[in-house]
C-alpha cells in the first residue's frame, strides 16, 4: 500500500514548550493509525501540522506526497478533520451547516443535497435537520461534526476523540463507521484517550508523551519492544493442580509455572496457572501434554498484554 502520510523529525515549538518533538512516522493508505497520549501529548498539534494549518519549527511532513506548508489547501481538499471540539456555529441549522461546508469542500453541486440527506440520516439527525445546532445535545453535536468531516468523502480522516460524549449505541456506530472507512481503503488517523477503542480499531498506534514518541507499532510489536513476557493461562481441575504443574514444566519452552494470583478459581473447582515462556503458538502443545496426562483442562488462553498494559508500561519506562 502506498504511504499517504510521512514525517521526518517533525517538530513544533511554542516558545519554550515543545509540542511535537522530532516525530518520524509513515502511515499507509487504508491503515487505521492510533495516536495515543495524555492531553498536551502533541496529538492535536500533529493534526494541525499535517493539514498545513500550523507551520513546523523543524523537520518536514508529506501528505499524499505534498508539503503541508506549501500545499495545505490541496491536502485539506482530500482530508477531513474532526476537531477536538465540534466547532459548530450554533446559529445555523444542521442542514445549513452541511450545505455551507459542502460548498467549502467543493462537493459537486448535483451531489450536495443527496449527500447532505444521506449523512443526516446516517448520523440519526434527519428529524432535527432544520433545527439550530445550538439546541443540540453534546452527542448530537459530535455526530453533526462527524457528518461534516465526512461530507466530501475524504481519503484521510483525522478523528480527534470521535466518541467523546457519545452514548454506547452511538459509539458503536462510530466504530462501525471507522471499520467501513478502512474497508473502503480510507486512511484513519485516530487520536484518542480511549485505549480499548484504539486496541479494537487501530492497525498500529503511536504512543506520545510531551511531544515525544514513546513507542510505535502494533500492540504485539510494542509489547515485544518492552520485553513483555509471553504467557499462557490455563484453568485445570483444582485436585490435579500439582500434577498439571509438573506436566507443564516438562513442556519445551516453559520457563516457569505458578498460580495466577489475580485470577480466582472457578466455582466448578478449577484453578488458574500462569505458564511462562509460552505464547499462542504453544497452546496446542500444552493442551496435548495436559490431556495425555489425564488432567482435566477447563480453559486455556494466551495472556497477551492489552494495549492498556503496553501504554502504561511505556509511560513508566
Amino acid at each position: 500500500m502506498p504511504t499517504v502520510i510521512s514525517t521526518r523529525q517533525l517538530t513544533r515549538r511554542f516558545g519554550e514548550n515543545v509540542a511535537v518533538d522530532a516525530l518520524t512516522l509513515e502511515i499507509e493508505q487504508g491503515e487505521v493509525f492510533g495516536f495515543l497520549g495524555h492531553n498536551g501529548a502533541g496529538k492535536t498539534t500533529t493534526v494541525r501540522l499535517l493539514n498545513g494549518v500550523l507551520r513546523p519549527s523543524a523537520g518536514a511532513a508529506r501528505v499524499f506526497g505534498l508539503d503541508p506548508v506549501t500545499d495545505g489547501a490541496k491536502i485539506r481538499a482530500r482530508t477531513g478533520v474532526l476537531t477536538e471540539t465540534p466547532a459548530l456555529d450554533d446559529r445555523l441549522t444542521a442542514r445549513m451547516t452541511l450545505l455551507y461546508f459542502a460548498d467549502m469542500f467543493g462537493v459537486p453541486r448535483a451531489q450536495v443535497r443527496p449527500r447532505v440527506d444521506e449523512l443526516l440520516a446516517l448520523f440519526d439527525l434527519g428529524d432535527r435537520a432544520d433545527e439550530k445546532v445550538g439546541g443540540f445535545s453534546k452527542g448530537m453535536r459530535q455526530r453533526m461534526a462527524l457528518a461534516r468531516t465526512l461530507l466530501h468523502d475524504p481519503e484521510i480522516v483525522f478523528l480527534d476523540e470521535p466518541t467523546s460524549g457519545l452514548d454506547p449505541a452511538a459509539t458503536r456506530e462510530v466504530h462501525q463507521l471507522i471499520e467501513r472507512l478502512r474497508d473502503r481503503r480510507h486512511t484513519v488517523f485516530l487520536a484518542t484517550h480511549n485505549l480499548n477503542e484504539a486496541e479494537r480499531l487501530c492497525d498500529r498506534v503511536v504512543v506520545l508523551a510531551k511531544g515525544k514518541v514513546l513507542g510505535m507499532g502494533t500492540t504485539r510489536e510494542l509489547a515485544a519492544q518492552l520485553e513483555y513476557g509471553h504467557r499462557v493461562i490455563v484453568e485445570v481441575d483444582g485436585l490435579a493442580a500439582a500434577q498439571a504443574e509438573q506436566v507443564l514444566r516438562a513442556v519445551p519452552h516453559v520457563t516457569q509455572v505458578e498460580a495466577a494470583r489475580d485470577r480466582n478459581g472457578s466455582e466448578a473447582g478449577g484453578v488458574f496457572l500462569l505458564v511462562h515462556g509460552t505464547s499462542r503458538e504453544h497452546v496446542p502443545e500444552l493442551v496435548a501434554a495436559l490431556t495425555q496426562s489425564g488432567v482435566n483442562l477447563y480453559r486455556i488462553e494466551p495472556d497477551e498484554p492489552s494495549l492498556e498494559d503496553v501504554y502504561f508500561a511505556l509511560e513508566h519506562e
Binding site: F14, A19, T44, T45, R48, N51, G52, V53, L54, R55, G72, A73, K74, R76, A77, T79, V81, T83, T85, A87, L88, D89, D90, R91, L92, M96, Y100, F101, D103, M104, F105, G106, A145, R148
Partner: protein
Amino acid sequence: MNWRAIFAIVRKDVMVALRSKAVAMPLIIVPLILLVGLPIALGTVVALAERIGMTSTDLQNLNSAIPPALHSSLAGLTDAKAGLVFALVYLFAPMFLIMPLMVSSVVAADSFAGEKERKTLEALVYTPTTDRELLLAKMLGGWIPGVMVGVFGFFIYTMVVDIVAWLVVGRLILPNGFWLLLALWVGPAAAGLGLGVTVLVSSRVNTFQEAYQMGSLVVLPIIFLMIGQIAGFFYLSTLFVFAAGLVLWVIDAILFFAGAATFKRSELMARLS
C-alpha cells in the same frame, strides 16, 4: 480563486450576522435615527419656528456656518429654512458615512473575532481555502452589506429629506451630485475603512465586543468632519468629497495589503495553540 467557497463564506457571514440581535439592533436603530429621525425632527422644529414667527432664534445660528459659496443656492429662503437645507445637505452628510462604516465594522467583527469567540474558527481553517481566499471572503462579507446599507440608506435619506424639504421649504433638494458622490464613491470607501481596521484589530482580540469597540474608533474622523463644518472651518464641497473618497480608497488599499500580509491561518492557530 475558489469563488464558490468565497461566496459561501460571504453568504453565511452576512446571514448569521444579521440574525444576531447584537449585530442587527444597531444596524436598524442607528439608520432610523440618523436617516429618518433627525431630518424629520429638524424639519418639524424649523416648520414650527416659521409658523409661530420665530425670526431670531438659535436656528438662525445654523446660518453662521453656511459658507459664502452656498449663499447663492440658498437665496430666497428665510434664515431658518436656509439653515435647514444646509443642515440636511451638508451638516448631516458625514453622519451618513457612519452607516456603511459601522455596518462593515460590525459584520467584520462578528465574522473574524466572533469565529474565535464561538470556537468555530478551527473548522474553517481546515477547509481547502487559501489564506488569501479566506481573507477576501471575510472582507467581502463585511464590505458588501456595508455598501448595500449605504446605498439603501441614501435612497431612504433622499426620500425623507425631500418630503421634509418639500413640506417646509417647498423644493426638492436631493439627490445632487455631491450626495451621489458621497453615496457611491465615499460610502463604499468608508465601508472598506471600517472593515480594514476591524479585520486588523480582530486578529489580535478574542471577542466580538472587543473587536467592535476598538474598530469603532474609525468613526472619529467623521466626528471631526462634522465639528469642522459646524465650526465653519470647511464645508464638504464636491471636490472635497471626491478627494476624501480618494484618500479613503488609498487607506483601504493599504489596510487590505497589510491585512493580507498578516492574515495567516498558521499564525491564528499558533495563537490558539
